[in-house]
Subunit: 393 residues, 2 copies
């Protein structure tokens, strides 16, 4: 069978039987205003999105995956047959036989509003033909969800089988279940928090201050000129540390020197961990817009699912979705205690909570593929069987 | 009695019976070269230092306190009678009846070489009459200790009763015991690590990158012009988060807004934690030199007491000092595991190790005054009694 696949001359990495293969980014344009929580209306707006698998006849098998801070709509597969092109950011999760099984589900992922990967954001042209820059309105997680609600409307999907996400993706899935309880059957809330803590806000603010401090930032109006690369790079480095555990940094780098055998007694990059961070910063600058970093971190800081209610439990009263909540022992960005706050507030509902012993920090939700496949796949299988039984019964 | 003290018309904060009162910064100039680990010689050099209490006749009651990254020689007391002047950085620890009891001990603290509070550093004038800037040689923790060894020589102290420090101060105390085993009776190693971890280096590197990214930094040659305030401020904010626990940030600020009742949907400083961090950054810029921040963090990164030996235990073989090691449960900068690595390597020696349950993170060593007074004071009392017994015996 493998030989037969190879006979199609697909590059090796695409010939893998469980890859979604080559995919395309789609765009949906909306002329209707997006009413933001700030009271401002954004018109028009565009969402970039991708889909994997097939929507079934009764449109009941759709799963909306929400991406995290630096993510985009490209969850899985490849845009080209170039063998050097990396797969989508959660390729291990989406494909035939994977935890989000494209043989069974229709997977959708859209770039968030405020982002910079095809959806309308600060780098987009405003109605006056010039980039919004800081004229772009401040958006919230609820606004990101509202935009994507328009997308599932446009795709003709009344009720999602599930909404899923890690990190900021989990926040959006939760927000959807609160704002549109009858439109989502289940929420997969992974390595996330129902509200940003003081420490979460603090790290985001440092990233923003690093961007503000870059003279190329020019109050956000740098489009067409030099971008605030140094500031964004520092912001990314700060963020990156919070995604890794002390253990993962130590086991990957320890005190290893990058190029030499002995200390150089200079300010050159010497330790491997310095080189790695610098590389992460530089790579990020190539693909991400600094203003989007400001807007999205601001949305993260604003996120508090209980805001405006007497308690978090009160905010969740009308939620009907079944929940899968997963936290990771070494995740110090969104800790087990934060996940538990949601689990407690959902008390009495259908909630499956797993605290996974994992060494790789916040990124464990992407890296612990075997455990995640078992937990996420198992949860979805049970939901699927339940639903089919309900329909058969 | 209190009334009698007040009769001297001292300001209230100085009239406290257990304050060291008004103190002065002293300077010691050295024309002999300081031989650095890099092979470079630094000539001349100056150390700024302060002392509290009285050196006894046989010069056996001296305790050298080493300061941390952003500290200086001003451990305790006041420089003036201005009632608004804050006390030295560890005033709770040094004074009559305090954990470092000035009725009994002669306390010395010197600003580190490479620093910016009176000791020779990158802002000092080089022999050519211009500031060193980045021409200042890279210094190590061992070099800081070597400079201070010259100071205790000059003060006529052959053997220190103890060497003590928190954070980078603990590293120096340990280094002294390794390099000069016969010159120190005890080491108090508080909230410190025997070697910087990959995560420690990563955070320091981000601070440095923030400084490098500030165009006012100008490769370090900013003296006489605008200082790289924005970069240093971001570096300080990053550092500051690592000194606090998630708990201390959450209990101090949570999601409290600074000025308003509701979200402002703008990039103004909104959350109290943002305002606090910004204030910490701005305050630091007033008192600290960005190049010193580079040099001292580099020294921290280089610190590994076992470097050049087969094992850490091997490096510590000739150490004769008795050890007090204290770690704090919420200290995620220098963790209990890091302290335990030293304790393990000292196996078979006289080591008293305490792991303190404390909520305030790395800064616990400064803030948990009652516990520290009990542990540090108790340890020193026992040493003192032992020594007096030995002399009497």
């Amino acid at each position: 069978m493998v030989a037969a696949v190879k006979a199609y001359s697909e590059p090796a990495h695409i010939s893998r039987l469980n890859s979604v293969g080559i995919v395309h980014r789609h765009y949906m344009h909306f002329d209707t205003p997006l009413r933001l929580r700030s009271g401002v209306e954004l018109t028009p707006f565009t969402l970039a999105y991708e889909t994997y698998g097939k929507l079934n006849a009764d449109r009941s098998n759709a799963i909306l995956i929400f991406h995290a801070l630096s993510g985009d709509s490209h969850v899985a597969g490849y845009y080209s047959s170039d063998p050097n092109e990396p797969a989508g950011w959660w390729d291990e999760a989406v494909g035939p036989g994977k935890m989000f099984d494209t043989n069974r589900y229709f997977i959708i992922c859209a770039n968030v509003i405020g982002g910079c990967q095809g959806s309308t954001g600060p780098a987009s042209l405003a109605p006056d033909g010039k980039p919004y820059a800081l004229r772009f309105p401040v958006v919230t997680v609820a606004d990101m969800v509202e935009a994507q609600r328009s997308l599932i409307d446009a795709l003709g999907i009344q009720r999602l089988f599930a909404a899923a996400g890690g990190s900021m993706g989990g926040m959006q899935a939760l927000q959807l279940a609160v704002d549109y309880p009858d439109r989502v059957g289940a929420v997969l809330f992974l390595a996330s928090t129902p509200r940003s803590s003081a420490q979460n806000i603090a790290f985001n603010e440092i990233g923003r201050q690093a961007i503000y401090a870059d003279p190329n930032w020019r109050g956000g109006s740098y489009y067409g000129g030099e971008v605030p690369a140094a500031g964004l790079s520092v912001a990314r480095m700060v963020g990156h540390i919070t995604y890794m555990s002390e253990f993962s940094l130590e086991s990957k780098f320890s005190r290893r020197l990058q190029l030499r055998d002995q200390l150089g007694y200079s300010f050159d990059t010497e330790f491997a961990v310095e080189s790695y961070l610098k590389y992460q910063g530089e790579k990020f600058v190539q693909r991400f817009d600094a203003n989007s970093y400001l807007y999205i971190t601001k949305a993260l800081d604003y996120f508090d699912i209980g805001a405006g209610y007497d308690s978090m439990a009160e905010a969740l009263k009308q939620v009907t979705a079944q929940f899968l909540v997963i936290s990771f022992s070494s995740d110090w960005l969104y800790t087990a205690d934060q996940a538990k706050e949601l689990v407690d507030a959902l008390s009495g509902r259908s909630v499956e909570y797993h605290h996974v012993e994992a060494f790789l920090g916040h990124d464990s939700f992407l890296l612990e593929v075997e455990t995640m496949t078992r937990l996420v796949g198992g949860f979805l299988d049970r939901l699927y069987d339940e639903q089919n039984l309900r329909e058969a019964g």
